[in-house]
Amino acid sequence: MAERHDDPPAIIEIEALRAPARSDAARQQLTERILAAAEPLLSLRREPVGWWDVLAGWAKPGLVAASLAFIIAAGALLTSRVGQRVAEPVTLDEVLALSESGEMPALLVSLNEPDAEAFAAAALMEGAPDADALESVNRGEINER
């Protein structure tokens, strides 16, 4: 745009303040400096991270952790149920059984409390019990000899 006629003339001496000529190397160096300083800011602008990306990053460890927690919980539940299992009641017939030789009946281990009558009957018996005596014991009868 042309200067207006009433503009005061430019001060020629001001040319002295003009920037000195710079070498290509100096210009290149400045450009590289600027680009290096800008790189961190530019990288922040690339591929902005959304909340879904953050969640996706945690998905795999989250699934593994959830699986482990499920396995541990299931194991703990099973263990507690086994511990709480109540022994099923057994009959005296199952506890007292004749030995093969027909002598003293074998006392089988039971989870139930010992049957006092059965103990008493066994204590009262002398010698080898005969089949009738055992039968009566099995029936719950006590022979008082």
Binding site: I11, L17, R18, R33, A38, L42
Partner: protein
């Protein structure tokens, strides 16, 4: 095309700016290549010290990158960037003046006559001093117009002022500058 054609930017400039917004280093590099020389010249007009000027130009480009989202879609990068640069230069000069680290303008090298070098250095010192005493808007107009050859419409766009105000600023600036230089005649 020159970098300072702020009112008629390259047709690809909005596209470059958009790519910079997305973090494209190559696009940013193209803007730096396009504007860094003129930015250096303008900033040097304020600071008169090459190293300080390089630091300032770097800071201005980084600041532009930080604020690139505030540049309107389709707007010209040049005027916006130069306004940022000029403001940064004025602030930097204030800062340097407070720290008293910027007393002497760059020496002029390459002259064979030491006496002429000394005279020229003295002239530059006087001019720089007289310029820095002008109000900031007048100083900016005279540096952009008389030193770097920007046209009034370009300066008006950079400073966000009407063209008439820009002319008025230049008129006042030249007059005040001339008066100050006459108070301190240039060395023979």
């Amino acid at each position: 095309m020159t970098a300072r054609e702020g009112d008629s930017p390259a047709h690809d400039e909005p596209f470059l700016v958009e790519r910079v917004r997305q973090g494209d280093g190559q696009a940013f590099g193209m803007l730096v290549e396009r504007y860094s020389d003129q930015a250096f010249a303008v900033a040097y007009g304020f600071l008169q010290h090459a190293e300080d000027t390089e630091d300032l130009v770097q800071d201005a480009f980084i600041r532009a990158l930080e604020k690139i989202d505030s540049l309107g879609r389709g707007s010209s990068f040049g005027p916006w960037f130069y306004r940022l640069l000029v403001n940064a230069a004025l602030n930097r000069r204030k800062y340097l003046a407070r720290r008293h680290t910027h007393e002497v303008p760059d020496a002029v090298a390459g002259h064979e006559n030491p006496a002429a070098d000394a005279d020229r250095a003295e002239l530059r010192r006087q001019l720089a001093g007289a310029l820095s005493l002008l109000p900031a808007d007048l100083e900016t107009v005279v540096i952009l117009h008389d030193l770097e050859g920007f046209k009034h419409p370009e300066i008006a766009k950079i400073l966000g002022i009407p063209e008439g105000t820009c002319r008025s600023h230049l008129w006042k600036a030249r007059r005040q500058l001339r008066e100050r230089l006459q108070e301190h005649p240039k060395p023979d």
